[in-house]
């Protein structure tokens, strides 16, 4: 195997917080044995099975696709199941809940604000009002590339943890919700642009973003939410400009004419 065989025992510090007992969170240290393919999620499961069964964190797929296991690892947002202790050797490794989120318990954060924002941008196809072709729409591979990358978002919230604006403007839709809107706006099968744009084009919708780009750096799936936000801003600006010159800009035919 390509990785050099390594291993040992690492000090892993985990932020613990039990809401009905603790006033504030605290870091607790655990000694965790590891080998070259021990993931951070494996380490947490070792702690839960062997050292303290009350430690609480979310996980399921352990293959970086369900989006459950986002944590701050030594201060950076990462998926625990695709990070390995070998990267943090000799330690210590510090595991904390995702930044910019309210902590429910230990490493479990509050996802409800995001779920509300996601639903708010109408992240589903608005079909052609004149009817959908049967048995289904045609879409060329080229048309797919316009939104493909934005459709790969796993809602892991690493970008929210990385974004300085999410912490400041609590109503900011944030990278993944805006990306979801842009994903549909740029889909040749979708005709919901006119409904979605006003949702984005609000003071707290998309405009708090200052193009730091931290979201795209943090994203484990190459989604590039910063690019999505940029395209949405451009579309919103264009929309505002076209308001004066062509009142029917929301018509279906406008789709391939460069609308986001």
């Amino acid at each position: 195997m390509a990785h050099s065989e390594a291993g040992g025992v690492m000090t892993v510090e985990v932020q613990r917080y039990r809401p009905d007992v603790d006033d504030t969170p605290r870091l607790v240290s655990y000694e965790v044995p590891w080998t070259q393919d021990t993931s951070v999620l494996d380490a947490l499961n070792y702690i839960k099975d062997e050292l303290d069964s009350s430690i609480t964190f979310r996980w399921s797929c352990r293959m970086a696709i369900c989006g459950s296991c986002g944590f701050m690892l030594n201060g950076e947002p990462k998926l625990g199941c695709e990070q390995f202790l070998r990267t943090y050797a000799p330690g210590p490794l510090r595991i904390e809940p995702l930044a910019n989120h309210a902590v429910e318990r230990d490493l479990v954060v509050d996802l409800e604000p995001f779920m509300t924002k996601l639903a708010a941008v109408e992240p589903y196809l608005h079909p052609d009002p004149t009817g959908t072709p049967e048995p289904g729409n045609l879409q060329t591979p080229e048309q797919m590339t316009r939104y493909g990358q934005f459709a790969a978002c796993i809602n892991c919230m690493l970008c929210y943890a990385a974004c300085p604006q999410v912490g400041l403007a609590t109503d900011f839709l944030g990278p993944a919700a805006i990306t979801a809107a842009v994903r549909y706006n740029k889909d040749s099968r979708d005709f919901g642009n006119a409904q979605r744009l006003p949702l984005l084009d609000q003071e707290d919708g998309l405009w708090p973003c200052t193009f730091v780009g931290a979201c795209s750096t943090a994203c484990p799936k190459g989604v590039d939410p910063a690019a999505a936000i940029q395209q949405a801003k451009f579309a919103a600006t264009m929309d505002w400009a076209t308001e004066f010159v062509m009142p029917h800009h929301g018509a279906p035919g406008a789709k391939d004419g460069g609308h986001a």
């Binding site: 009905d20 996980w59 797929c61 996601l118 729409n137």
Partner: protein
């Protein structure tokens, strides 16, 4: 305990649960729907499916071929009326997903592309890169947000199906759950209940399943008196990473990947799947595209012969993609590239990837009919937790995602119809009994002495050893007694955590209880089946299929002591009489794999 009244309560927010919820909402817009899930829906394990979803499309393929592949693949244990319904509706469901925005992979002309898949005689697997389940789940989840009547109860952990026999017949009256976030029990009083809780792979040590695949819904139905059917049929996937069990999609072989032993030899040709197909030219039903059970069994034989590779996590064989070239690998199999790099530090463009079989799919489950109803009036099931009769003794890859859609929709519509005819009625009796049950569960927190992690590990070891790819009577008896002993220890399971919110020590203990019950049903069902069929292969003199005695579904019903009682029911056969299940060159010989419908025509290769 809080009480919520709804028309239809759906337990599970994966592909099957979401499809059922949307079906209720579209068919019966006035009904209220609770979608109850222990994880946010987009975390459900449908997200992990890579390869694709079946549906007949295009020239050269036909419903009859899909039917025959499914029935033969299931070693004639499928209910053929269900298979017929399924193949007739799979394609329209794939187009339905298209209209809900799934990014199906396309041909240059904009039409949907399909790929080959193991055990399927024709390319009919619809795919979205190699993340089909991910796209399917997110498309359905996001579409579900359109319907205000679908009210989600995310991170609500379902505990039991609530039943009642007011009026003479026992029926489902709702679901008792617990909100993990807020920390109290909630009774959903419902006109109809649909269980869509997914598979049970975590019963085994080496598996491709996520943490949530713990048999909860099967356990809940079983405890409510509903039989579990065909539980001995557990599918191994031939290509998982040693150690973690993370899956490398069968699509990798459909695209031309080959399996080699430690000598670089394509060993599948030694096990009835040959002759060897040319590199880069995979052929359906031959070699690497043989059905999963056969491919996994061949691994076992190679292991016995000492021809496997050694890795840090035990023996393995090699998945070799190198001849496909960097561009093709990156375009068609991006997830494989990511997984190999992350988990093994290997590059499939340059390196052979070590793989081995791991438990993947439970063919059996909650027994339901073609209308998705169980034997308990008002209780429905769909998806991997159910035994619809579709998969028989062995599921063909890409039939299960399609099943979530086809039968998830049926479950939603039928549950909706039931709730309309027999609407939810509040009952003091039901509420007070549910409150007692809730108290009993909550009392587990801070009680007990037996280490749950130890019980879980021993259960995994017992099942890996006794109910693996090949089985013997002694091995299975041993598994039955080990599981029964663990169930006794479980009665005093320790839950140290006393915190009311996000108490995963407690939820894991409850999951463990379901897994033990279901493991017991699996082991007892397997022991009783004295033949070899599909995924149930015996080495102790019962190494042939025995249609005389066992062309029948196994039913496991829970007795008063909590032990499984095994009985049988007939398989529905309409047009295809049992024949030899042949692949490779043997599958082409006239007559050999013929069915009643095609008595003299050679099978498609």
């Amino acid at each position: 305990m809080q009480t919520v009244r709804v028309d239809v309560a759906i337990v599970g927010g994966g592909g099957a649960g979401l499809r059922a919820a949307i079906a209720v909402a579209e068919r019966y817009p006035d009904l209220s729907i609770a979608l109850i899930s222990k994880v946010y829906p987009m975390r459900s394990h449908t997200v992990a499916a890579e390869g694709g979803s079946a549906g007949v499309v295009g020239e050269g393929d036909s419903l009859e071929k899909h039917f025959n592949d499914t029935v033969a693949g299931g070693d004639w244990l499928s209910d053929q009326d269900v298979v017929q319904y399924f193949v007739e509706h799979a394609t329209e469901e794939m187009y339905q997903l298209e209209k809900w925005g799934i990014p199906w992979s396309r041909r240059p002309d904009g039409h949907v592309n399909v790929r080959r898949f193991g055990g399927m005689s024709q390319p009919r697997t619809w795919f979205a890169a190699d993340k089909t389940g991910f796209y399917m789940l997110h498309s359905m989840f996001q579409t579900s947000l359109k319907y205000p009547q679908i009210v989600r109860y995310d991170e609500f952990f379902a505990l039991e199906v609530v039943t009642d026999d007011e009026g003479g017949t026992e029926r489902a009256r709702g679901v008792l759950a617990y909100t993990m976030r807020d920390g109290y029990p909630v009774l959903f009083e419902a006109g109809a209940v649909v269980i869509t809780t997914g598979g049970a792979g975590r019963i085994y040590g080496s598996n491709t399943n996520g943490a949530i695949c713990t048999a909860d819904g099967m356990g809940m139905a079983y405890r409510a008196g509903v039989p579990l059917r065909d539980m001995e049929f557990v599918q191994y996937h031939p290509t998982a990473l040693p150690g973690s069990g993370v899956l490398l999609t069968e699509g990798a072989r459909g695209e031309g990947g080959i399996l080699v032993n430690k000598d670089g030899y394509r060993y599948l040709q030694d096990y009835g799947l040959g002759p060897e197909t040319p590199l880069g030219h995979p052929e359906n039903k031959f070699m690497e595209l043989g059905p999963r059970d056969r491919v996994s069994q061949a691994y076992w034989h190679e292991l016995q012969k000492g021809r496997t590779l050694e890795t840090a996590h035990g023996p393995a064989v090699g998945l070799d993609l190198r001849h496909l070239g960097a561009a093709y690998i990156h375009e068609r199999l991006p997830l494989i590239v990511e997984l190999a790099e992350q988990y093994l530090g290997l590059d499939p463009v340059k390196d052979v990837i070590p793989v081995r079989p791991a438990v993947h799919y439970t063919m059996g489950g909650i027994r339901v009919g073609l209308d998705a109803s169980s034997s308990l009036p008002g209780l429905y099931a769909a998806g991997e937790c159910s035994s619809s009769g579709l998969h028989g003794a062995n599921r063909l890859g890409s039939n299960s995602l399609a099943e979530l859609c086809v039968l998830g929709k049926v479950a939603g519509e039928q549950a909706g119809a039931f709730a309309v005819l027999d609407p939810v009625r509040p009952s003091i009796g039901v509420r007070s009994r549910a409150a007692d049950v809730a108290d009993r569960y909550v009392a587990m927190m801070g009680a007990g002495t037996e280490d749950p992690a130890a019980i879980r590990r021993e259960m995994n070891a017992a099942m890996d050893a006794g109910l693996g790819i090949y089985r013997t009577g002694d091995g299975m008896r041993e598994a039955v007694s080990r599981i029964a002993a663990l169930q006794e220890r479980y009665a005093d399971v320790r839950v140290s955590d006393t915190c009311p919110v996000y108490n995963t020590d407690w939820t894991q203990a409850i999951e463990l209880g379901h897994m033990l019950d279901v493991a017991h049903a699996m082991a007892a069902s397997a022991l009783a089946r004295e033949e070899s069929r599909g995924a149930h292969q015996r080495l102790d003199g019962f190494d042939k299929r025995d249609d005389e005695r066992f062309l029948a579904h196994t039913l496991a019903t829970r007795d008063a002591q909590g032990h499984p009682v095994v009985s049988y029911e007939p398989v529905v056969i309409t047009t295809s009489q049992p024949a030899t299940r042949a692949y490779g060159a043997a599958g082409q010989a006239p007559g050999k794999a013929a069915t009643a419908e095609t008595p003299t025509i050679p099978k498609e290769a």
